[in-house]
Each structure stands twice: as structure tokens, then as C-alpha cells.
């Protein structure tokens, strides 16, 4: 890999581009910018960017076109989608189409930085995995995929339909691996409503970085895993079974399940 530029910023608003450039410079990332879909596509083909921060609504097209282009050309950048028109549909659609995160505008410096941090980590894990598979070294596991029956939203959260009609919700191992060591968990309460693509739990890691978990499904929380409060590391140890987070009565599962990906699938 040639040591190129770390981040491509795609946004039609110059103020936002400038702001993101400044924020990225805080963590010493090198950046490139594109102010419309056309230039973005050109730049993607010319150079490889490990991280792409992409706005959804732009004058000559939308950010999903960039996502499609990347997928078509098999470019494995980590994409963070952002938009001022922050609907649940946009968020879920972004994650379904391969983005690793969705940050609604306006965002704070910390929100963006923690997302970039995760994107960077994610990218590194994926690179390493590629390297390992090239070396035919299959013994070393970088992260654990969820069981086959589990469905995930992007790479961050999973859900599992129980027999009783309720749904278990938790975070994927890969998501935890992108920020390492959970220090604090902030959970919602029983009876709270959560919605697909909307933050339902946040994890605090080193340097007070906050990482938001987007709920894979909409519904009402009927049970919170009390063990997590005393032992947050349970999530890291066993994210798919003992480390479940909520038990939820789903409200619109038939529709929302279309945007979820089976955990057995490798694609993002």
C-alpha cells in the first residue's frame, strides 16, 4: 500500500468541508475534498482513500451513487455517511449499502472524530484480514462474526428473533473491536421506544470517545441485560450471547428486516 491521503471529504457546502478538514487535522489525518458527486467519483478512481466522509444530498446526485460506485469497483474504503436530511431511511439505507457509519448533521467534533477513529480501525482490521488470508493464515481470528441466524445492521448491531416474538439486540464483535475496551455503557430503560437506525446505546472508550450503537430494529424495550451494568466487559467477552443488550417487542419487523444483513454474510 502506498502511503497516500487518509480521508476524502465529499460535501457540497464549503463551510462543512472546511470544518471537517480542520477536525481531521486535529488527529493528524491528511485529507482531500470533493464538492460534488462527479469529482468524487473521479477522485475515487484515481486514488485510494482508506476513509471517505460523504454527504447524501448534493446538487448533482446523492451520496448513494458514490456508495454504489465503490461497491461496483470493489473499493474497500470505510465510508461515513452524513446528511442534513437525517431520516431513519437514509441512515438505514446507508448502512445497508455498505457505509460503516451514519452521522446526522449537525455533528460535534467529538462525534465526527470518534466515527473517524472507528473507520480507521475498521479499515485496519479489514486490511489485516486481507493480509492474513493472503498468507493463508486462517488460525488467527481478528473478530468473531455472529451466528448464522443473527441479522445485523451494517457491521454495528445485531438482532435475533426469539420464539416468543420478542427480539434480542446486541452489538457485533467487529464494532467493539473498532474502538477497543469499553469503559462505560449508557443504556436506555425498560419501556423506552427505540427505532431502527437511531442511537439506542452508547459506549465510552478511552479518551472519552463516545460510540453510538444504532438500533437494528424498532420496538419497545421489555428487558435490559442487568448484568452489563455490573460487568460491562461481558459485551467484549461474549457479544452474541451473554452480552446481549435489550430484549425488545418489535413494532415493524416485517418491513425493517429487509434492511438487515445475515451475520453469516461477509459483505458489507
Amino acid at each position: 500500500m502506498n502511503k497516500g491521503i487518509d480521508i476524502l471529504i465529499i460535501d457540497d457546502e464549503q463551510v462543512i468541508v472546511d470544518a471537517i478538514v480542520k477536525i481531521c487535522s486535529l488527529d493528524n489525518y491528511s485529507v482531500d475534498t470533493a464538492i460534488n458527486v462527479r469529482t468524487a467519483k473521479e477522485k475515487i478512481l484515481k486514488n485510494y482513500y482508506p476513509i471517505i466522509i460523504c454527504d447524501i444530498m448534493m446538487p448533482d446526485g446523492d451520496g448513494f451513487q458514490v456508495l454504489d460506485e465503490l461497491q461496483k469497483k470493489n473499493i474497500e474504503s470505510s465510508i461515513i455517511m452524513t446528511t442534513g436530511y437525517s431520516t431513519v431511511e437514509n441512515a438505514v439505507n446507508s448502512l445497508y449499502k455498505g457505509a460503516i457509519d451514519f452521522i446526522p448533521k449537525p455533528f460535534t467534533v467529538d462525534e465526527l472524530l470518534s466515527s473517524i477513529y472507528r473507520a480507521n480501525k475498521y479499515h485496519k482490521i479489514k486490511e489485516k484480514q486481507k493480509l492474513l488470508s493472503l498468507q493463508k493464515n486462517n488460525d488467527e481470528l481478528l473478530y468473531v462474526s455472529g451466528p448464522g441466524k443473527y441479522l445485523r445492521l451494517g457491521y454495528s448491531s445485531w438482532m435475533y428473533q426469539e420464539r416468543e416474538g420478542s427480539v434480542l439486540i446486541g452489538v457485533c464483535d467487529l464494532f467493539i473491536k473498532t474502538f477497543e475496551s469499553i469503559q462505560e455503557i449508557e443504556l436506555q430503560n425498560v419501556e423506552d421506544e427505540i427505532a431502527q437506525g437511531i442511537c439506542c446505546a452508547s459506549f465510552k472508550s478511552v479518551k472519552d470517545r463516545i460510540h453510538k450503537m444504532l438500533s437494528p430494529i424498532s420496538g419497545r424495550i421489555v428487558e435490559v441485560n442487568e448484568n452489563l451494568k455490573t460487568n460491562p466487559n461481558l459485551i467484549e467477552k461474549d457479544p452474541y450471547f451473554e452480552g446481549w443488550i435489550y430484549r425488545v417487542i418489535p413494532t415493524n419487523i416485517d418491513y425493517e428486516i429487509k434492511f438487515l444483513i445475515p451475520c453469516s454474510s461477509d459483505r458489507l
Binding site: 457546502e13 463551510v15 462543512i16 470544518a19 486535529l26 455533528f107 467534533v109 430503560n189 423506552d192 421506544e193
Partner: protein, 622 residues
């Protein structure tokens, strides 16, 4: 003109009466003239007989001069045109007109034809056959002639002169002709009379019918026509005045009913249209505002990071960041309101939220010389609310209050307390069915924003829908215009017509029948059917006891809200602030409080001030 119903009816009626009167007049005139002629005929016949019998003696004595004299004197009577005696060979032997004497009469002449039609003369003919009506000249009066045969008698052939042989039957005839001028005149007169009568009658009938058609048909139809024109021009508030109780009157009533329904439907359409445009607006605003907000938020939080060693900057920057984050939540809740999503609720202290809200707006209020007086209850139980949304509600209400103040400022009084609300007058009926499980909730007709209970009322074949207030014990029922309470009135389910009246029990207050609704798990809701009677009973909620709530009252000393405006203030896009407001504030507030299962009420007196009372239940029911 013939296209008007009135004229068509008048035309048909006039034609009918014309035919009836015409036929009647024809037969009337005809029978009258027949009887007149018959009278004249009888008279002439009698005259003939009289002449014969009065001249009989003279004839026996053969005193021709005297006969002539008698005939002359009879002939001078004004109506008698001519009296002649003709002998058997056709010679006129006596005549009142002396020029005719000794002239021969042709047997073929009209006066003779009746008897002499065949070669041998008839001896006996009836009176009608002896009579003839003729004109001497075509333009002279009609004349009636009657022939009276003079028969041979024993005295004639036995007389001395022995003028006539015994075997001769008829000796001659007396021909009397009488002018019909008078008769014709009177017939003509009665023809004229009847014609005149017919015209007057037709005109009268026409006018009378015209008058009533105008009154019963034309005017109401024109009124209806005007109504439809108004409605098609878009004026759905147009009501047709009372047109009586006939079919057209009923049509008018049902027209009014229709326009009322249409106007309600249009209001709903308008409302949903408003909500849809609010959604589009919110989406647009979200996108447009979020980009600049991103600039503000990123730069300010960026600065916050870089000025860690400058506490003075830090404080100010924190305010910017905090308030930008709040703006972000507001934009989000605008989107949420447009999408009517659920609030993010956490346990919170209302007093704390209130303090935070006051902190945000304090500066602005002091610039406007507005004082805030807090009368909060120090110990309030925590309630589950979306703190951001509730703060938004408080700030909005404070801003409204401050906007309503005079230039020299005023006071906003905020009080909080825990209250126990009796379910009577506050509990909302959220489910209501008939005994066959048809839902009676009507989402289309809302009373104070809540879906009402629909009841069909039947009496004497008339059917009406009334809407019962869905709040336990409240009487803001909606009745249709022509709703009348009668002894035989039935209250039934609009879907299956099953009775909604409780059997064998009458209202303890007014003895009227009692309506009852099945509210599912919440037992039965009973309410008196009599308009204006306040009796209602809901055992289930009564037994649940008082509902614990937190009440927040925000009073100002501003202009107040007028009576017309007060019912509209929670509607989206209703604003009295002109260019300053967008009319969304109170609509959003209402949505937020409703999402918290709370209530918001407003009391206001123009010139004195306005009080908003918010009640949030402690236990969040679903």
C-alpha cells in the same frame, strides 16, 4: 321563458282548463240554443193552432176579409215575420204580407218539402218535421217557419157552402214564420258570456297557479340554485334558509347537511394538507438549517478544544455549543412532529427542566422588562418525559408570553405542583364499541382534538349522527342542525343499528334514556342522552381513583387571546404574530404534550393575560 318550470306548469294547467271549459261551454251553448229554439217552436206551433182555431169560425162562414184581417193583425207582432195560409194546390190565399197573396208556392220549396218529398203528400207529420229554420238572404236573420196543416172536419164538408169534399183530408196549411233574431242574439250573448268566463277562469287559474308555483317551487329552487352556485364557487359556509317542510324544504336541509359535511371534509383535507406541507417544510428546514448548524457546531466545538487554557472563552463557547445542540434537537423534533414520532423519555425533574429553560431565555426576558416569578413546589416526583421536548415547550411558552407583553414589560408567573386529577372531566375514552363490537370512535370528527363517539339517532324515519364528547363527564357534544329529542328517538350504532340505550334504567337526574358504550378492558361508559344533562358514569376509572399528575401553570400579564382565536391557537400555521411567527410553536407544543399523554389547556382574558395549564401524568400509560 318556456324553460321555466312555472311556465310549463301554468301552460299545461291553462291548456287543460281551456279544453274543459271549452267542451263545457260548447255543450252548454248548444243545449241552451236547442231549448230556446224548442221554446220558439212550441210558441210558433201554439200560435199556428191559435190562428187556425180563431179563424175557424170565419172560415166556416167563408168570411175571407175577416180572416185576412186576423192574419194581418197577428202579422204585425214584431217577432212574427209572416203568417200565410196556403190551399191544397199551393196558392197563398191569405198572408200578412199582402204582396204574396194569390201567388203559387212551389211544392219543391223548402216550406213544402217536408210533406211533399214524395209524390203523395203526407197527412200526419210530427212537429219537428213541420219546423224549418232558414235564412231568406244569406246575411239576414234566421227565421223559424212552422207549417200547421188544416184538416178537413165534419163541419167543413157539412157546411152550407160545401166547399170541400168529404174525402179530402188536408184542406191547406198555415205557415207561420217567426224571426229568430232575438233568440240568436241571446245565444250569441251567452256564447260571449261563456267565452268571457272561460278567459277569466283560465287567467285566474294561471295566476293562482303561477303564484303558488312561484312561492313553492320557483323561489326555493332559485335559492337552492344560488346555494349550489355558491358551493361550486367554493363557499362551503353558505347555508340555505329554511324552505319549509315539503320536499324542497327537505332538499334544502339535506343540502345544508351536505355542505356542512363537505366543509368538514375540506377542513380535514386542509388540515392534513397543512400537516403534509408542514412535513415538507420541516424536511426542507432540516436540510437547510442543519448545514449552517454543522458549521456553527463544528467550529465552536473545535474552538472549545483549542482554547482549553482560556476559561473565559470556554464558558461562552460552551453556551454556543449547548445552544446549537438544542437547535439540533429542535430541528429534529420538528421533523419528529411532522412524522409524529415517539418522544425519547427519561425520568426527569420538571423543576430542573423549568430552571434550565428560564436560564436559556432569562437574558431575552430581561431586555423586554419581563419578570419571572417562580412559585414551584420544591418536592415534585420525577416523571418520565423527553426533557428536551419539555424544555422546548417551556421556552416556547415563555417567548409567547413575552411577545404578548406591552412595551413596559410584565410578569410571567410559573407554578408547579403535584395534583390528583379526578377522572371525571379529564379521562379520555380511547375505545368505544357497541355490543356487537363495532367501533364508535370517529377520527374524522374531533372534539377538542380527540376523536369523538359517533351515535346514530333515529326518529320517525329521520336519521342523524351526533357526536358525543370523548372526555368523561364533558358536554361538548356535537349535534346536527335538525337534531330533535323526542320520546320515540332511538340511539343506535351507525354500523349495525343495534341500540345503545341501556334497558330499564333512566337518568337519575332527568329521567332520559342512558347511552352506554363498551370501552373494552375499561368497562362501560354511561352517559345521559338528554342534551345538556351532565350525568355520566364510568365505574372503571372511578374505581381506579385519582390520577396523579404534575401541573405546570404559566401565566402572563399580556394582551390575552380573543375568544375567536382561542379555539385555533393549537392549529398549525395559526399565528397572531404576523411576519414574526410561523404559527408552528403551539402546534408543536400540543403535539409534544399529547405525545406525553398530557393535556394542555389555555384560559385567557383580553387585556388581563393568558394562563397555560399543562398536566403531565406521573405514570406513563400506554
Amino acid at each position: 321563458m318556456f324553460k321555466k318550470i312555472g311556465f310549463r306548469i301554468i301552460f299545461v294547467v291553462a291548456l287543460t282548463s281551456l279544453i274543459i271549459i271549452g267542451v263545457f261551454a260548447y255543450f252548454n251553448v248548444k243545449s241552451q240554443s236547442i231549448s230556446l229554439i224548442a221554446e220558439v217552436e212550441r210558441h210558433a206551433n201554439q200560435l199556428g193552432e191559435t190562428v187556425i182555431s180563431s179563424t175557424r169560425y170565419d172560415m166556416m162562414l167563408n168570411q175571407r176579409d175577416r180572416i185576412q184581417q186576423t192574419i194581418n193583425s197577428i202579422g204585425t207582432q214584431p217577432q212574427i215575420r209572416d203568417v200565410r195560409i196556403i190551399n191544397k194546390i199551393g196558392e197563398i190565399i191569405y198572408s200578412s204580407d199582402s204582396t204574396n197573396i194569390n201567388r203559387m208556392v212551389d211544392k219543391r220549396a223548402e216550406s213544402c218539402y217536408a210533406c211533399h218529398a214524395e209524390d203523395k203528400p203526407l197527412e200526419q207529420i210530427s212537429i219537428t218535421e213541420r219546423t224549418r229554420i232558414f235564412r231568406i238572404h244569406p246575411d239576414s236573420n234566421r227565421v223559424l217557419g212552422i207549417i200547421t196543416p188544416i184538416y178537413n172536419e165534419k163541419s167543413c164538408w157539412q157546411s152550407d157552402c160545401h166547399a170541400h169534399p168529404e174525402n179530402q183530408k188536408v184542406l191547406g196549411v198555415l205557415d207561420v214564420s217567426i224571426s229568430l233574431a232575438d233568440v240568436d242574439k241571446s245565444i250569441l250573448k251567452s256564447e260571449w258570456n261563456i267565452g268571457f268566463f272561460a278567459i277569466v277562469a283560465i287567467l285566474g287559474v294561471g295566476l293562482l297557479i303561477g303564484f303558488f308555483v312561484r312561492r313553492w317551487v320557483s323561489l326555493p329552487v332559485n335559492e337552492l340554485l344560488g346555494g349550489t352556485k355558491q358551493v361550486s364557487a367554493g363557499n362551503l359556509n353558505y347555508t340555505i334558509k329554511d324552505l319549509g317542510d315539503d320536499e324542497i324544504g327537505k332538499l334544502g336541509q339535506s343540502f345544508n347537511n351536505m355542505t356542512k359535511k363537505l366543509s368538514e371534509a375540506r377542513m380535514q383535507l386542509f388540515q392534513s394538507d397543512k400537516m403534509a406541507s408542514l412535513g415538507r417544510l420541516a424536511a426542507g428546514v432540516a436540510h437547510e438549517i442543519n448545514n449552517p448548524l454543522t458549521g456553527v457546531l463544528t467550529y465552536s466545538s473545535f474552538l472549545l478544544k483549542r482554547t482549553k487554557d482560556n476559561p473565559e472563552f470556554q464558558e461562552d463557547l460552551k453556551v454556543i455549543v449547548r445552544e446549537t445542540l438544542r437547535s439540533r434537537e429542535i430541528v429534529k423534533s420538528l421533523l419528529d412532529f411532522a412524522r409524529q414520532s415517539v418522544p425519547k423519555k427519561n425520568s426527569a425533574d420538571i423543576n430542573e427542566i423549568l430552571d434550565k429553560s428560564i436560564g436559556v431565555i432569562e437574558n431575552q426576558l430581561s431586555i423586554n422588562k419581563v419578570k419571572i416569578v417562580k412559585q414551584t413546589d420544591a418536592i415534585l416526583p420525577k416523571i418520565t418525559v423527553d426533557a428536551n421536548q419539555i424544555q422546548q415547550v417551556f421556552i416556547n411558552l415563555f417567548v409567547n408570553a413575552s411577545d404578548a407583553m406591552e412595551k413596559d414589560g410584565g410578569t410571567i408567573t410559573v407554578s408547579t405542583r403535584q395534583i390528583s386529577v379526578s377522572p371525571f372531566g379529564t379521562a379520555q375514552i380511547k375505545k368505544a364499541t357497541c355490543s356487537k363490537r363495532h367501533s364508535l370512535l370517529d377520527n374524522e370528527v374531533k372534539i377538542d382534538g380527540l376523536p369523538s363517539l359517533k351515535v346514530k339517532v333515529r326518529s320517525n324515519g329521520d336519521e342523524n349522527i351526533i357526536h358525543i364528547d370523548p372526555v368523561y363527564g364533558k358536554l361538548r357534544n356535537i349535534y346536527t342542525q335538525d337534531y330533535r329529542e323526542k320520546r320515540e328517538t332511538q340511539y343506535v350504532c351507525p354500523e349495525c343499528n343495534i341500540s345503545l340505550i341501556e334497558e330499564n334504567i333512566l337518568c337519575p337526574k332527568c329521567q332520559a334514556p342512558i347511552l352506554f358504550f363498551d370501552t373494552g378492558e375499561q368497562g362501560f361508559y354511561e352517559v345521559c342522552s338528554h342534551k345538556g344533562c351532565a350525568w355520566a358514569k364510568w365505574n372503571f376509572v372511578d374505581s381506579a381513583g385519582l390520577k396523579e399528575s404534575v401541573e405546570i401553570r404559566i401565566s402572563d400579564t399580556g394582551y390575552g387571546i380573543s375568544r375567536e382565536d382561542i379555539s385555533k391557537i393549537f392549529e398549525p400555521f395559526f399565528s397572531t404574530k404576523g411576519q414574526k411567527g410561523n404559527g408552528l410553536g403551539l402546534a408543536v407544543i400540543w403535539g409534544i404534550i399529547d405525545n406525553h399523554n398530557g393535556t394542555i389547556n389555555v384560559e385567557s382574558e383580553v387585556g388581563k393575560g393568558t394562563t397555560f395549564t399543562i398536566r403531565l401524568p406521573l405514570a406513563q400509560q400506554r
